[in-house]
Amino acid sequence: MTRFEVIEVMKRIIADNLDDMNVDNIDPQKSMKDYGANSLDMIEVVSCSMRELNIKVPRAELAEIQDIDGLADKFMEYIDT
């Protein structure tokens, strides 16, 4: 799976989890917080994404991540390409 595909999966899940979000308007350089996500929204987006990507990233490794791009990079480390 390419990084582009990972971002597409995440965008779709973010749009599913937040109000009034359109997939096309999500900028990966932003944080989910910029789109009004609260802490539990973010946890749910992350766990839902990991389920779909079939990966498991330990929570401790996610703590410092700032934006959607950063999250995609972290996910890529765990995806067998």
Partner: protein, 250 residues
């Protein structure tokens, strides 16, 4: 009392209980549980002036349920779940209780809402029966009371999956939650319902509460028998301790 939970009784007989532990985000710390039970005692001593109660939490978190220390103690077979007393005391109150759930309600926090007679919830928040995400079975009456609030099939999905559902998603799935409104509307809606109850003859309100709560009391007793047994087993699984530690990684 440490002031984590605040009781205010208005002249019209509406008692407001606000859980407001900003620091621990309304988790069941020792102080939280002790304060809550103290407030319940206080309420009972004022019960003649209370006609209806509204239970509210913080704007972002209604109540987040058990704290890590309590859960870890349970895996060592130490503490009995004193949190269960919260469910019991809520269900046994002699006047109607309205849950005004502005923020998230997780685990035991969601159980608290299920112990109330009427639930008003914020569409933006999340409800999660998160117990199984840490590998132990639900408690605090959840196994019987959640299906009262959201219906049996949705309750099963919530408990098995441990997913933190957006209330807007639950709204689409269909539940028995009285009102699902935007967050800023939660308190006004709860207050309006409380006022309608407060203007009724309080003696008859109590009578009705006694009749209507009988079913919930029975369900809680049934739940406890099974939940206690399942806790003794599931908190003992070696994976559970690890899961709890992972879940609370800061």
């Amino acid at each position: 009392m440490s002031g984590i939970i605040k009781l205010r009784i208005e002249d019209d007989g509406i008692a407001w209980i606000k859980m407001r532990d900003e620091h621990n985000k309304n988790t069941f710390s020792r102080n939280f549980v002790e304060d809550f039970l103290d407030i319940m005692n206080e309420l009972e001593s004022f019960k003649d002036s209370v006609r209806v109660m509204v239970l509210q939490g913080l704007y972002d978190v209604f109540c987040a349920g058990a704290d890590e220390d309590t859960l870890i103690a349970l895996t060592r077979g130490k503490a009995v779940v004193r949190d269960i007393a919260i469910s019991e005391r809520l269900i046994n109150l002699e006047f109607p209780v309205i849950a005004a759930v502005e923020g998230h309600a997780m685990g035991g926090g969601l159980a608290m809402a299920t112990c109330c007679d009427i639930v008003v919830a914020a569409r933006e928040s999340r409800f999660g029966a998160v117990f199984m995400s840490m590998g132990f079975t639900p408690g605090m009456g959840m196994t019987t009371l959640l299906s009262e609030l959201v219906g049996p099939y949705v309750a099963s999905e919530m408990m098995f999956s441990a997913k933190r559902f957006r209330v807007s998603e639950l709204e689409r799935m269909g539940t028995n939650i009285n009102h699902i409104v935007t967050k800023i509307r939660v308190l006004p809606v709860a207050k309006d319902i409380a006022r309608q109850i407060a203007e009724k003859n309080p003696k008859s309100v109590r009578l009705l509460k006694y009749a209507l709560s009988a079913r919930k009391k029975k369900l809680l007793v049934e739940a406890r028998m099974q939940e206690d047994m399942m806790h003794r087993i599931s908190f003992n699984y070696p994976e559970t301790l690890k899961n709890i530690r992972d879940a609370y990684v800061k």
